[in-house]
Amino acid sequence: MSQTEAVFWFFAAVSVISAFLCITRRNPVASALWLVNTLFALAAIFILLDAHFIGALQVLVYAGAIMVLFLFVIMLLNLGRDTGTDMLGWAGRIVMLAVGALLATELLVLARVVPDQRFVLPAGTLARITEEQGAVGAIAAPLFRDYLIPFEITSVLLLAAVVGAVVLAKRRL
């Protein structure tokens, strides 16, 4: 087991455990924080997979901004207090986890799938590009060239979301 792999498995374990805690903690605040923990672990894995910029974004945007919004709303609605569980009973929990396990077995075959070698880049290509263009440049080039249209759609999407959120959440009717 190489060093990279060891690091990968460590963070994989962290992310799975945090995810499990995230879905089973009774308090929404705890859930949100365990999700943040999962996100951190995933950010580390992203970096292992040569996605440095995305790893940074994961921490900054996802864990830093989006999850803070979650926490903010949980606090706003005062859901942090410990009042009863929102989970199903034990039987329900077991059934649902079983359904999840069923789905997992269905999907786990993916771990054994090898992509068509014709499309696979030579090993280390991505690392080399990152080396040459910098972590940001490696993303920026395709983002603003090949993916210009999706990028622009994203801007409209965010605008629509802002308008929508304002309409729904503003106090005055």
């Binding site: 649902m96 359904v99 269905e106 075959v109």
Partner: protein, 661 residues
């Protein structure tokens, strides 16, 4: 194409324009009764005149028929290209005349009958629309266009049955008619798709031309197709088991019953079988099924008619029974005979319904004057009406003699031809003799229940009440006039196809030959010797006479009580003292059991109980129950929804990966 045949689209245009104009008047709530009458009746008169011209044009140059008048490309989808095209040939021209002619007469009658109805304009607009769709059905040059008419007449029938919408039961009857028709339509549609799969086209000319090459005689494909088509016919023409809507449909105005539920729409199934005669001739099993279902329906409906008190119900079951005859005719391959009976039936049954309408109209008015809430359609409230309504009584007697099959009247010839054709095929299989026997028994019952209807309505003492009698009077000329026209037709209608043993024989038979000759190759050559035919004619006469005389002698209108004081059908006590002691034995041993079975077993148990309860309503209730169950699943809880979503996704993933991992 003769010039006049090219005008055939005008036949459609006039009723459609009439519908639009009267519909607009109705929706705008204009008070323009005179205009409504002019438009509604005028459209039909014009239509009839064009139909006559088309017929004349076709008669002038019949050799080139069928003529196809293509209006425009209707559905240009892929290989299934459908043209909006009309086909004029001997069969459709004949139907054209019958439909426009009878409709015209009934429109005139309606002017009097519906004169005081607040929905006058609406009524005429529906009626015109119905005629339009009926003509589309008749004239369509391919199955889809025929289907448009097929569905359209169903819709109009639905609207007209529920015309007097203040009554919940009426509206339900309309719905039942529509849904039963739709069940039949599934058969029609499936047949259409199967034909398309096999032949690659849906236009009549091409399908019938290619059919011999596309299908094996008696093969599975052709049998399935024709059976599916027949399911369609069953729904539309009220045969077992989809017939219960027709008696219920009597909730509509009486002229509607005459036009739609006797003369035209319900015969569409017969027309369709005759139209597709090649297909049916190639499928002997289906043909026999048609004949057998027809025969059974004929007998069954006739027995049920024996004991009905509602005058329109008797006529309704009678219609179902006569339609059975027609199916028997087309089922045994006597397509011309089937169309012949269709034509004569249109005359005499329309006459019977209009006559009944005239009676109901009179009685209704009488009860209206005295503010009585008696049932104007119950025969127990009638009796002796010939004193007040001599014209109606005469005309209805003519129609009765026609339907019973008294020699010289139209029904005699058409019914005889069907029975003779069935009998003639007896040497092939004994089953045809059975069918023939069923037909003869039905004829006997027909004679009986029709005479019963006449006796209870027009003879014996009057039971409508003292005060009411002063208000009874004959209907106005606008109603009796149409009766006169139909009465003439009911007498002379048989002339168009006199049987072979009489001179001038078989005009209709020869006229329809271009249409029916396609199937002739697949049907056995049948010949009856003249002596056999004379025997059959004589036998039919005897049966008719027996039925009439039997009813006349056995039924005692004098003993009947009006509906309001009618006892529960037990009152034969005093009758036993009657001098016709032998009659009473017969009465007890034969007539009463049959009557009892008719009412208690056939009508109450089978008709109302089994077929209505389990068949039509049952399946509707099942569907509703399943819908309710599905609705319960919609709990409103997000958890349920997500759970079902995930289950669905799991199954989907399993299917997509081929159930194996």
């Amino acid at each position: 194409m003769p010039a006049t045949v090219g005008w055939v689209w005008l036949v459609l245009l006039f009723p459609l324009a009439g519908f639009l104009a009267n519909g607009a008047i109705s929706v705008l709530r204009l008070d323009a009764k005179r205009a409504v009458t002019t438009i509604g009746v005028g459209a039909l008169v014009l239509s009839f005149l064009v139909a006559v011209a088309v017929m004349a044009g076709l008669a002038g140059a019949p050799a080139d028929a069928p003529y196809v008048l293509s209006l425009w490309q209707w559905m240009p989808a892929g290989r299934l290209e459908i043209e909006l095209a009309l086909q004029v040939d001997q069969l459709s021209a004949m139907m054209l005349l019958v439909v426009t002619g009878v409709s015209m007469v009934i429109h005139v009658f309606s002017v009097g009958y519906m004169g005081e109805d607040p929905g006058y304009a609406r009524y005429f607009s529906y009626l015109n629309l119905f005629v339009f769709f009926m003509l589309v059905l008749v004239l369509g040059a391919n199955f889809p266009v025929m289907f448009v008419g097929w569905e359209g007449v169903g819709l109009c029938s639905y609207l007209l049955i529920g015309f007097w919408f203040e009554n919940e039961a009426f509206a339900n009857a309309g719905k039942k008619a529509f849904i039963m028709n739709r069940i039949g339509d599934v058969g029609f549609l499936l047949a259409m798709f199967m034909i398309f799969q096999a032949v690659g086209t849906l236009s009549f000319i091409e399908v019938f031309e290619y059919a011999p090459r596309a299908f094996a005689i008696g093969g599975t494909a052709i049998t399935l197709i024709t059976l599916a088509l027949f399911v369609g016919a069953i729904g539309k023409s009220a045969q077992i088991p989809l017939y219960t809507w027709l008696p219920d449909a009597m909730a509509g105005p009486t002229p509607v019953s005459a036009l739609i539920h006797a003369a035209t729409m319900v015969t569409a199934g017969v027309y369709m079988v005759a139209r597709a005669n090649v297909l049916f001739a190639m499928a002997p099993i289906s043909s026999f099924t048609v004949a057998a279902v027809g025969a059974i329906t004929a007998l069954f409906a006739a027995t049920v008619a024996l004991k009905q008190w509602d005058i329109k119900k008797v006529l309704a079951y009678s219609t179902v029974s006569q339609l059975g005859y027609m199916f028997m005719g087309v089922g045994v391959g006597a397509y011309a005979a089937g169309i012949f009976h269709l034509t004569t039936h249109a005359f005499f049954k329309a006459l019977l319904f209009l006559g009944a309408g005239s009676v109901i109209h009179a009685l209704h008015h009488a009860y209206h004057h005295t503010h009585s809430s008696e049932e104007a359609q119950d025969m127990r409230n009638m009796g002796g009406l010939r004193k007040w309504m001599p014209l109606t009584a005469t005309f209805m007697w003519i129609a009765t003699l026609a339907i019973v099959g008294v020699p010289g009247f139209s029904g005699f010839f058409s019914k005889d031809e069907i029975l003779a054709a069935t009998f003639a095929r007896g040497h092939e299989a004994a089953a045809f003799y059975v069918l023939w026997a069923v037909g003869v028994v039905t004829a006997l019952l027909t004679a009986f229940y029709m005479t019963r209807l006449m006796i209870y309505t027009f003879h014996g003492p009057n039971r409508s009440g003292e005060k009411e009698q002063q208000h009874l009077h004959e209907s106005p000329w606008v109603m009796t006039g149409p009766l006169l026209v139909l009465a003439v037709l009911a007498i002379v209608g048989g002339l168009i196809n006199l049987p072979a043993v009489l001179p001038g024989s078989g005009w209709l038979h020869h006229w329809l030959e271009p249409v029916t000759e396609l199937s002739a190759a697949y049907l056995p050559e049948v010949h009856l010797s003249h002596s056999t035919e004379w025997v059959l004619l004589g036998f039919a006469t005897l049966v008719a006479a027996l039925g009439i005389i039997g009813a006349w002698r056995l039924l005692k209108p004098a003993a009947l009580k009006p509906a309001r004081e009618a006892p529960e059908e037990t009152g034969i006590q005093k009758v036993l003292l009657n001098k016709w002691y032998v009659d009473e034995i017969y009465d007890t041993l034969i007539v009463r059991p049959i009557m009892w079975v008719s009412e208690n077993v056939l009508w109450k148990v089978i008709d109302k109980g089994i077929i209505d309860g389990f068949g039509a309503n049952g399946s509707a209730n099942l569907a509703r129950a399943m819908g309710w169950l599905g609705s319960r699943l919609q709990t409103g809880y997000l958890g349920t929804y997500v759970f079902l979503f995930v289950l669905g996704a799991l199954i989907l993933l399993r299917v997509v990966t081929g159930w194996e991992l």
